[in-house]
Amino acid sequence: MPLLEIVGLTARYGAGDVLKGIDLAVEDGEIVALLGANGAGKSTTLRSISGLVPHVAGRILLAGTALSGLKPEAIVRQGVAHVPEGRQIFPGLTVRENILLGGSNRRGVSRRELERDTDDMFSLFPDLTRLERALGWTLSGGQQQMVAVARGLMAKPRILLLDEPSLGLAPLIVQQVFRLIGEIRKRGTTVLLVEQNAHMALSVADRGYVLETGSLLITGRPDELWGNAEVRAAYLGGKVAAA
């Protein structure tokens, strides 16, 4: 049984159908990339999983348990951590406090244990150590991304949803972030990654799905997708053969 299973997901944003019945599966320990141009419905897919967007039809199952209809707070307790688009670091809290709060979904855990786990995060992200007491709003995009991922991992999730981690980041930083994602996978965390930067995503993923205006276009392994002219056309139009 896949860890995360989505069947026939239909969701609405505004008055138009944004997702028109998509099927998706993520196995335990995988990194799966969800690709497509802007407006294709990638973020909406993640937001449906984490409960921020209600879905009109379809099923979302985490290891067999239905997530449909649950509130975000309940879904994160089931083990789904969502690192949203734009990172959403709490601007008035320090880096340490931001990361600490990542454990808010874990019931019955002591403050001391949370502090210990936060220390662990700093060893996983050594570049953040000197920023421990910096306030959220002072951080650069790349730093915020690291804090956001660390905060997501604090939830000890069964699956981590990463929404456009490369958004607005300089190419060098993007490299660092994706190196990090590789590290996370080594720790055994399952990741569903939404990215516009297809190349980057496919270089780290085990499998990919490509969405186009709310429907699934194609799915396969990175090498299968990369050479595919349809994928390129989905982003850049033209419907021409790959250059």
């Binding site: 505004g14 141009a37 407006g39 995009g141 958004l167 190349h199 205006t213 850049l236």
Partner: protein, 600 residues
């Protein structure tokens, strides 16, 4: 125009003429006034019932003020009782202490109310709505303080007795109860008419636009601050008029009658009846005056009930009782009739090298985030120019800076050679710039036609000030997007794709020179996108300059003559569509580059 001459017989029944007629509602007023005169002859000259009716009439006038400022313009005023009091004290002190004739004293009171309203409005209305609420409560509290303590001027807590009604020498009967009641009701009839007509006037539409979507109102050419100040000033004046008549009605006033409690009574009356309609105001006032008079014994309880009523109305009945009725009434579609085509479509203008819109060195920083980092490009007249780039590249920020919603950190924006870098949004619209929004900003409290009319009557457009022509232009714009039949509906009832077209029609109705479309295809299905592409192609060749931001590359390729690509707030490519889309930097920006240390 020859088209008008030919169509004259049809025009007489034409919806445009009917809607825009100067005489609309006038027969109603005349009937109302005649009825008032008739009523006066049978009305009591004194006694309890007379008092209740006079109170209802004068309060209703004040409640009309709340309809204007809150119902039409969406600004919360909690000082209506204070303005009512200023009018009342104007009459009282003017006639009793200064010996002025009644109407002169009333004029003074009304002017004082209006002036104070303007001062409060000017200081507060640049800020958010709750500021006005706080300031008006404070003003109300201080007003009561002054009334009670400035004894030499206001007679303090004792109040002012012996206020005389207006009378002409030899015509004593004019001061009689029933005649004075007739005066109050007649004033109410006229004011109701004015407030009703206001709603369908250009100013009224502007107020409603400000209420429904302040941001879109400013980009549609409305001077938002000025409109708010006028609305608030008007409400103060109406409060003053009601108060002046109130003083004459009861011939004795005291500070107790103009406290914060009374502001709440007036507010509740407006909400209960339906704050967006003058008829709702009438209904609500009658209910709120008549009911507690019947429950006179429970004086304190009725205020408790008012308080609870306000909460319950907000939760369960936001449109008030009049809303219950009015929302049930079916909306009639407008009669069919030909309208002249959009002038936009009848002119021809090929693309030229003249530059319609140019930005140089444009930068916008949000704290440490550099959304735009020095961008240059020029949009040529009569072309369709696309601005594209991956998510977060700065495209929407660019449009927002160009239309005046953000101030740039650096750089210059020129519209047909004129520097508009620091102009507020409505002045850019005045110069022929129009835009649509990514997340559709329509005015949801008014009809499709009214939305498009607001676009048509933007300052600087050739037909501003000609009501019939405005309606025609709006209908023509709706014709262009094939939504003429939906003109009478409230925008919220339309499907998403149609709402998009209404927004486009609103922009086109203003005959803009330069049109900025921010992700017009967002949320549209493939066939709708195709239709949009066709629509945009139809606009070509008429001299209209279009700048379009979108992600759908097929649409962009379909319509664009020229493409500029942004990434990380900088321009990375600029040129002909296929060249740009094949450019390796652009491909890399969208699809990304391989990881440097990856094992492929």
């Amino acid at each position: 125009m020859s088209a008008h001459a030919e169509a004259t017989p049809i025009l007489a029944r034409h919806p445009a003429t009917r809607l825009a007629s100067r005489w609309r509602g006038v027969p109603g007023v005349v009937i109302g006034l005649l009825a008032t005169i008739a009523f006066t002859t049978v009305a009591p000259t004194q006694g309890y019932i007379l008092n209740v009716m006079m109170q209802a009439a004068t309060y209703a006038i004040a409640v009309m003020g709340i309809v204007v400022v809150l119902g039409y313009c969406g600004q919360i005023s909690l000082a209506q009782a204070a303005f009512f009091g200023i009018g009342a004290y104007g009459v009282a002190l003017g006639t009793v202490d200064a010996g002025l004739p009644f109407f002169a004293a009333m004029l003074l009171g009304v002017i004082a109310a209006g002036a104070l309203g303007l001062i409060l409005g000017l200081t507060t209305l640049r800020l958010g709505g709750h500021y006005l609420g706080m300031v008006t409560i404070s003003f109300q509290v201080i007003f009561t303080l002054v009334l009670t303590n400035w004894i030499s001027l206001t007679h303090g807590p004792d109040g002012v007795p012996h206020i005389e009604r207006p009378s002409l020498p030899g015509f004593k009967f004019l001061a009689a109860g029933n005649t004075y009641l007739g005066l109050c009701i007649a004033t109410l009839v006229v004011i109701t008419f004015i407030v009703w007509r206001l709603k369908m006037s250009r100013l009224g539409r502007a107020m409603q636009a400000v209420r429904d979507n302040e941001l879109a109102a400013s980009t549609t050419g409305i001077a938002v601050f000025r409109v708010k100040v006028i609305a608030f000033g008007l409400s103060a004046v109406l409060g003053g008029i009601g108060g002046g008549l109130f003083a004459g009605a009861f011939s004795y006033i005291s500070p107790d009658q103009f406290r914060f409690d009374e502001s709440i009574v007036l507010l509740t009356g407006a909400l209960l009846g339906g704050v967006r309609s003058p008829f709702g105001a009438l209904l609500g006032t009658v209910l709120l005056i008549v009911l507690p008079e019947m429950l006179r014994v429970l004086k304190q309880v009725y205020l408790v009930v008012y308080g609870a009523a306000v909460i319950l109305i907000m939760v369960f009945l936001p449109d008030g009782m009049w809303g219950l009725i009015a929302n049930r009434l079916p909306r009639r579609p407008l009669a069919a009739g030909p309208v002249p085509k959009l002038p936009l479509l009848t002119r021809t203008g090929a693309a030229s090298d003249e530059i319609a819109l140019e930005i140089t060195g444009l930068a916008k920083y949000f704290g440490g985030l550099k959304a735009l980092d020095g961008v240059d490009f020029a949009v040529r007249r009569g072309t369709v120019h696309a601005l594209i780039g991956p998510n977060g590249s700065g495209k929407t920020t660019c449009i927002n800076v160009m239309t005046g919603l953000y101030r740039p950190t650096a750089g210059r924006i020129a519209l047909r050679g004129q520097d508009i870098t620091n102009l507020p949004p409505h002045l850019r619209t005045r110069r022929g710039l129009a835009r649509t929004f990514q997340n559709i900003r329509l005015f949801r409290g008014i009809t499709v036609l009214e939305n498009v009319m607001i676009g048509a009557e933007r300052p600087g457009n050739d037909i501003a000030g000609q009501p019939a022509a405005v309606v025609e232009r709006a209908l023509a714009a709706l014709d262009f997007v094939d939504l003429r039949n939906e003109a009478h509906r409230l925008v919220g009832t339309l499907p998403y794709g149609h709402q998009r077209y209404v927004e486009i029609a609103r922009a086109l109705a203003g005959s803009p020179d330069t049109l900025l479309l921010d992700e017009p295809a967002a949320g549209l299905n493939p066939s709708e996108k195709h239709a949009l592409g066709l629509l945009l192609r139809r606009l070509k060749g008429h001299g209209l300059t279009i700048l379009i931001v979108d992600h759908d590359m097929n649409l962009v390729e379909q319509v664009a003559d020229h493409i500029t690509v942004l990434n990380f707030g900088r321009r990375i490519a600029d040129g002909l569509p296929r060249t740009v889309l094949d450019h390796p930097d652009v491909v890399a920006a969208y699809l990304g580059e391989p990881r440097q240390d990856a094992a492929a």
